[in-house]
């Protein structure tokens, strides 16, 4: 597979690992903030070939995991409304809310379907004119252009029975919140490659210039991740703090201008509540007023009682990188992928799920 196989070359991987070892890193904390990076790192076994002095920490990179319990409960209320067909990406289905999950509600008879693309939801809306079709829009910047397109197409085609539950979040404000909290000493960020394909590199400048922390925008194959770690270590050694792009083949410094333009047309930034990080200003996306009738939050009454988060669940601290899953008393005992207490265990990109699957 072109542009994949070459970046999995084991000889280059070995050489990069040797180069990293030669820099003799001591006590370096690097954080990745993308669930796809979390999984890629575990699946390929990269941590094993890194020297002990490099510590890779997983941050709030899984959009399903950072969705607040209150939002999950609202989505469950939406799914239970008569004549509503709820659609979402697959890994939302098993996330536990206060009393139930989408999967459990489906078993009770609610029409809940997983889709590969938000355009599939539009098709379902076209084929079911007598029903309300809702897309649960959870994701980061990689996904928000796709959602924006679906909403924009719905308006153009006057698909009045389609709406979204806007729950998208933005990565740079989360980085800011993490840095302000000062819970961890962080020496560098492995920045998400595909988010950056959309937003470009300028969005991370404040991390380098204000907080003096190096950033490297990384691809997802083992060679990409190791090269990014090498670039970060070099910056640290040379006492530089810059935003560099390792994933040059897929990230332009300006990002994707067409995608960003559509995002501006369709969405406005708003404060958002993040599991584990609390409320962060300007960190979420809401539909702007032109698209009000495609906003499920406006269309339906989705108020819910105060959400109850499971006690002893350390998802919040795991998401901030302050604790690792094995430090949670529930991990692999009461909380397993079959019986998850929190989203970090059930999401296909959750840190706890990664630890359980590859590392216990």
């Amino acid at each position: 597979m072109k542009y994949i196989d070459e970046f999995r070359d084991k000889d280059i991987v070995k050489k990069l690992a040797q180069r990293i070892k030669r820099l003799k890193p001591q006590n370096i904390n690097l954080m990745e903030v993308c669930g796809t990076h979390t999984m890629a790192i575990f699946r390929s076994g990269i941590k094993q070939i890194l020297p002990q002095g490099v510590n890779i920490i997983s941050g709030p990179g899984c959009p399903v995991c950072v969705t607040d319990q209150g939002d999950i409960d609202s989505m469950l209320k939406l799914a239970g409304i008569k004549n509503v067909i709820s659609t979402s990406f697959g890994d939302m289905l098993r996330v536990p809310g206060t009393t139930s999950s989408l999967e459990k509600e489906r078993a009770k008879g609610c029409d809940i379907r997983s889709v590969y693309s938000p355009l599939d939801s539009l098709e379902i809306a076209r084929e079911n004119k007598n029903k309300e079709v809702v897309f649960l829009a959870v994701g980061f910047e990689t996904t928000s252009p796709a959602i924006a397109s679906a909403v924009s197409d719905a308006r153009e085609n006057k698909l009045d029975n389609f709406s979204i539950y806007p729950c998208h979040k933005l990565i740079p404000p989360a980085l800011e919140a993490l840095l302000k909290a000062k819970e961890l000493r962080l020496d560098g960020f492995i920045c998400p490659g595909h988010v950056s394909s959309i937003i470009g590199s300028a969005s991370y400048e404040f991390v380098a210039s204000q907080h003096k922390i190096p950033c490297v925008i990384s691809g997802f194959e083992p060679v990409d991740i190791l090269e990014s770690i090498l670039m970060l270590l070099k910056q640290i050694r040379e006492e530089r703090a810059e935003v560099e792009i390792q994933y040059k083949r897929a990230v332009r410094p300006e990002g994707n201008p067409l995608a960003r333009e559509l995002l501006k047309d369709v969405f406005t930034t708003t404060e958002a509540r993040w599991r584990g990080l609390g409320t962060i200003p300007e960190s979420g996306l809401n539909l702007n007023s032109d698209f009000k009738k495609f906003n499920a939050k406006e269309k339906f009454d989705l108020t819910v009682k105060n959400p109850v988060r499971p006690g002893n669940c350390l998802c919040g601290q795991v998401l901030r990188g302050v604790k690792t899953p094995d430090q949670c008393g529930l991990f692999a005992k009461a909380c397993t992928p079959e019986n998850p207490y929190g989203p970090c265990m059930v999401s296909s990109e959750g840190t706890c799920a990664a630890w359980y699957k590859y590392n216990r």
């Binding site: 597979m1 542009y3 050489k15 669930g35 595909h194 394909s197 083949r249 897929a250 332009r252 559509l262």
Partner: protein, 72 residues
């Protein structure tokens, strides 16, 4: 969820492209890319092309990495 993979464009019709990934074909929405041509490689996420693979940059990255490989 940032899973996106590089696929080859084999046909383009307005905002839609047929792509090929190791013999697997699918239609993809390409409204976010300009100047797309058959034979280009694009990154696909959730049914949308989010970026075109810069083949020159890819070659350069691989050249640099090969230097690392042949170094000593």
């Amino acid at each position: 969820m940032c899973l996106a993979i590089p696929v080859k464009v084999i046909k383009i019709k307005e905002n839609s492209a047929q792509v090929n990934m190791a013999g697997v074909k699918r239609l993809v929405d390409v409204r976010f890319l300009e100047g797309l041509q058959v034979g280009d490689y694009i990154l696909v996420h959730a049914g949308f092309a989010i970026e075109k693979i810069d083949e020159e940059q890819a070659k350069e990255t691989l050249k640099l990495l090969e230097q690392i490989y042949y170094d000593e």
